[in-house]
């Protein structure tokens, strides 16, 4: 690992990858779907369920259509990156491990004020909650630190420790950048030096316009309903695959549809067509899908199913 201050956005990501790899995490790749946060990656949502140990870290591109600001706001975008770590069971020294990751990206504790400030995490769409903190560095929220208590309506046994870093914000702070678009993406001395804005300013404009004014709400609504129906249809299939004769519960394909429904809901929300009362109803519908996926996952091997225990009838 290189010493001293990192010089670019990507160096911070690379240092986090190296650090968590050195602590024994599997370094996964981003999930290939539109999600609102790194938590939606099945490596977190599903893997936090059941009894099997797990340790993974990954970058997850995340989309929050309502946060679009046409690339003009210094730190608010509809597309950004989260760095996510999930370790199950949560190790007793998770706080120290986490602080080590801050040191790895060049935060010197002799000069900074690190604080763990109460923050109860809840994801109504995932039927999940946990207790933990926002971690503050000099008053800036740099991470969420959560001990999962429940996911998809299931109590977590054992408990997973989840760390989520808002990468742009953290990197801007470490690199001393005031506007995200000015942040060096690769090394500033590279032959072709790119700033964050060179990579993302145009897409922020394009998506902001589409999210807020152009997206076809009738179609989005239709997509939402289609994804919802498909999720249920997948989980309604018999457990035994008629072709292979194997027991195959299609949790991940079903969960993909849950992720899609959630994203369509976010887009509808950004278009301003969902009223406050309807909002709760939509969130409830996504949660129902997440819960069914969670129920199904714990019936699979990855979810701790051993084959000896009687599987729930499907």
């Amino acid at each position: 690992m290189s010493d001293g201050k990192p010089r670019s956005f990507q160096e911070i990501i690379l240092r986090l990858q190296t650090y968590w790899a050195s602590k024994g995490c599997a370094i996964l790749q981003p999930y290939d779907m539109e999600v609102g946060a790194g938590t939606f990656h099945p490596a977190t949502t599903l893997r936090s369920l059941g009894t099997r140990p797990w340790a993974a870290a990954y970058v997850q591109p995340s989309r929050r259509p309502t946060d679009g600001r046409y690339g003009e706001n210094p730190n608010r975008m509809q597309h950004y990156y989260q760095y996510q770590v999930l370790i199950k069971p949560s190790p007793p020294d998770l706080q120290e491990l986490y602080l080590g990751s801050l040191a790895a990206i060049g935060i010197d504790f002799d000069y900074h004020d690190i604080r763990f400030v109460e923050d109860d995490w809840e994801s109504p769409t995932l039927g999940a909650w946990g207790l933990g903190w926002e971690v503050w560095c000099d008053g800036m929220e740099v991470s969420q630190f959560t001990y999962f208590q429940q996911v998809g309506g299931h109590d977590c046994h054992p408990v997973s420790g989840e760390l989520t870093y808002g990468l742009e914000r953290l990197a801007m702070y470490v690199l001393g950048i005031d506007h995200v678009m000015d942040m060096p993406f690769n090394d500033p001395d590279a032959p072709i030096a790119l700033k964050y804005g060179d990579v993302f300013r145009q897409t922020e404009e394009e998506y902001s316009r589409w999210n807020f004014d152009v997206a076809d709400t009738d179609k989005l609504l239709h997509f939402f309903e289609a994804a919802e129906a498909e999720c249920a249809r997948i989980l309604d299939q018999p457990t035994e695959d008629p072709r292979s004769g194997k027991r195959i519960i299609m949790v991940h394909p079903a969960y993909d549809q849950c992720i899609k429904a959630s994203h369509f809901f976010n887009l509808l929300d950004a278009r301003g067509v969902i009223s406050v009362t309807e909002r709760q109803a939509y969130i409830g519908r996504v949660r129902a899908l997440a819960k069914r996926c969670a129920d199904a996952f714990v019936e699979t091997k990855a979810g701790g199913w051993t084959g000896d225990a009687p599987a729930a009838a499907n």
């Binding site: 007793p92 000069y111 900074h112 004020d113 690190i114």
Partner: protein, 691 residues
């Protein structure tokens, strides 16, 4: 006498839970120790973000030996009875003693409970305390099943005597109690061994931990006010924030920084709320201009650059936050200047309560009601209606979405920006008031009209859908709304017929349920009683006035109650009640017995005693005075006239026997008593007065 030191060391405890946790730890441990037979001289608890600490001085070293005697069955009782007794005492037959009793010989069990060492008891009590700790929210971690507010990392539990320190043997879910603690997370993270409380306190301070939360708060306040004073500025006092911040740090270091020029034009409430809610900063204002010009942040450590990096970072975060606030403010002002139509539209989609429609529906009702109420409070009906229509529009603004506590305050700014009349802008800010028994009550007529309309709409609305408060449950804060109505009416001495206003409002609701205006009035009366009792008005006085007609006019009601309470404080008044009750009782008994009502009017010609004549005179005088006084609502005069009856009534009862043998005289006297009842009854229902 040993001293006990307990430290429960965990990952960061939420600041808002620390005070409750300190008290619970102290209470539960001391209760447990006392229950187990130990005594102690003194117990005190402290907290930091990472530890809960309890120190107990002068704990008894052992619980006393106990000897209990239990009486069993008679010696000649059947075997079965004896077996049961042996089972319940855990003794064998040869351990029992036979003793003489009134009914012969009985078995006596002497059960001896030897005292136990303090360490053993402490271990038991502490384990029970930890396992059943009343955290508002607790969690599990790792593979364990123990619940704590955040992962519990270590337990320090020491009994210290002159002979030395002894670790109390205790293990909970793999955490073994010891004599080790740790200092500040960053400034002195090494483990520290301690031998007792004094040693602990000294070593913690050396390890950059200020254990006493009050000391931390004092230091923060002292340093903050000093830093501000040096620049001719003042820290805006905020006790809640001070307590919270003191709960976020073990080693407080106060740093003061500047707010960017670009943000100084934001409304001060916005600056203050944004800094407090997001950053837990104190606001520092310039007393000359009243503007917020600096912030104070409290760091958890000293640094090599005296906080320069920390302050810079905090300033940057603040700028980002305030950029957001400025963005909202700019957008909101644009909407306001365009007449707020966008918000009006938005609120048609926001549900107020599923059975009561949208916020827009609600605003429509409040506006209509404000128009009705306006003449009663001296407000211009057009202005009141206009104010009611805009007062809640800020609920759709971005700033209020971000900071809900700024509702109303932002409304005032937006109404001003929209060029609305000053009365309207003021009503936007004040119509939520009063929010509690000590909150300021608006007095400007338009504000009062909207404030009353808002609260009456809430009350009638939830009454209509049968969502009344029950017991401790009052999810829609209807008691607060009722108190608001009461305080508004009384402060403004407003003459408002509540029954009529409620009935009007109820009739306009589409959802007409079981709640009636009369029912709502009795709820308001209940709240009024509570309110007046706090003001020192006797409950029986209130009852005596509530029983009178026109009791839905609270101003009149309270005026009457005040006058009655005053007259009851005089000797005449107090004795008049006795005389009245005597007259009333005699009359009631006679009426019941005779099955008639003695309301024919007494005839003076049958008066056969000077005292009786005098009472006729006095009643003539009183009636002549009370009539016009009541017309003029001059309760004091009416009460004085009534109290003047005291002497003649007393003299009358002294001199004559009402139930005379002469039936004509008797009936006439009963009719005379009826005049007393009627005359007094015009003023208040004295039968409700105690005593």
């Amino acid at each position: 006498m040993p001293d006990l030191l307990i430290e429960l060391f965990s990952e960061e405890i939420p600041a808002r839970m620390q005070a409750g946790a300190r008290e619970a730890l102290r209470q539960r441990v001391t209760d447990g120790l006392v229950e187990a037979g130990l005594s102690y001289a003194h117990a005190r608890a402290w907290s930091t973000p990472r530890r809960l600490v309890l120190a107990i001085e002068g704990l008894s070293a052992r619980s006393p030996d106990l000897k209990e005697e239990r009486k069993g069955p008679r010696v000649d009782a059947p075997e079965k009875a004896l077996d049961g007794f042996l089972r319940s005492t855990g003794l064998t037959k040869d351990q029992l003693q036979a003793r003489d009793d009134k009914k012969g010989q009985v078995w006596i069990a002497v059960i001896e409970k030897p005292g136990r060492d303090a360490a053993e008891i402490v271990a038991e009590v502490l384990e029970a305390t930890i396992r059943n700790f009343p955290w508002p929210k607790s969690m599990r971690w790792g593979t364990g099943s123990l619940r704590w507010v955040r992962p519990l990392q270590s337990i320090l539990c020491l009994l210290t005597t002159e002979a030395g320190a002894e670790v109390v043997p205790l293990e909970i879910d793999g955490i073994r109690a010891g004599d080790m603690t740790r200092g500040h997370r960053f400034m002195a993270p090494e483990p520290v061994r301690v031998t007792g409380f004094e040693d602990y306190a000294v070593k913690l301070k050396r390890a950059n931990v200020m254990l006493d939360q009050d000391e931390r708060a004092e230091q923060i306040w002292h340093d903050a006010t000093n830093a501000a004073f040096a620049q001719g500025l003042e820290v805006v006092e905020d006790k809640g924030l001070l307590t919270e911040v003191a709960g976020l740090v073990e080693w407080p270091v106060v740093l003061m920084g500047a707010i960017g020029e670009a943000f100084l034009d934001l409304p001060p409430e916005v600056l203050q709320t944004s800094m407090k809610e997001h950053q837990k900063f104190f606001s520092v204002k310039d007393p000359k201009t009243g503007r917020i010009v600096r912030f104070v942040t409290v760091a958890n450590r000293e640094t090599a650059d005296n906080g320069e990096t920390i302050l810079k970072g905090n300033g940057k975060v603040l700028s980002a936050r305030l950029s957001d606030a400025a963005f909202f403010w700019g957008n909101d002002l644009a909407v306001a200047k365009a007449g707020m139509e966008e918000w009006r539209q938005a609120l048609t989609h926001v549900t107020f309560q599923s059975a009561l429609g949208s916020q827009a529906d609600r605003i429509g009702r409040i506006a209509a009601l404000a128009r009705e109420i306006a003449p009663l409070v001296g407000a211009d009906p057009d202005l009141a209606e206009q104010a009611a229509k805009v007062a809640k529009l800020d609920l759709a603004s971005q700033m209020v979405y971000e900071f809900p506590e700024l509702q109303g305050l932002m409304g005032r700014y937006y109404a001003e920006a929209a060029g609305l009349p000053a009365e309207v802008a003021e009503a936007c800010a004040l119509h939520y008031k009063p929010l509690g028994p000590s909150d300021e009550v608006p007095t400007a007529p338009v504000s009062v009209a909207v404030a009353l309309a808002d609260k009456m709409d809430t009350l009638t609305g939830f009454w209509a859908i049968d969502e009344k408060p029950t017991g401790s449950k009052d999810p829609f804060a209807l008691r607060r709304a009722a108190l608001g109505v009461i305080r508004l009416v009384l402060t403004g001495t407003i003459r408002m017929p509540l029954t009529e206003v409620s009935a009007w409002a109820l009739s306009r609701l589409t959802e007409t349920g079981k709640g009636t205006a009369a029912d709502l009035l009795s709820f308001l009366h209940d709240r009024l009683k509570v309110h007046l009792r706090d003001q020192g008005i006797r409950h029986d006085v209130i009852d005596a006035c509530l029983a009178m007609p026109g009791n839905d006019d609270l101003t009149l009601l309270v005026k009457r109650a005040g006058a009655l309470q005053a007259v009851l404080g005089t000797e005449d008044g107090e004795n008049l009640v006795q005389g009245f009750k005597r007259a009333n009782n005699i009359l009631t008994q006679a009426e019941e017995k005779d099955g008639v009502e003695y309301s024919f009017g007494a005839d003076r010609k049958f008066a056969d005693d000077p005292a009786e004549d005098a009472l006729f005179d006095a009643l003539d005088v009183a009636e002549a005075a009370i009539g016009p006084a009541m017309e003029a609502e001059d309760f004091a005069a009416a009460m004085a006239a009534m109290a003047a009856l005291r002497a003649p009534i007393d003299a009358f009862f002294e001199a004559v026997q009402v139930n005379s043998d002469n039936e004509i005289i008797r009936r006439n006297r009963l009719n005379l008593l009826h005049r007393i009842r009627t005359t007094c009854g015009r003023v208040a229902d004295l039968t409700r007065i105690d005593g």
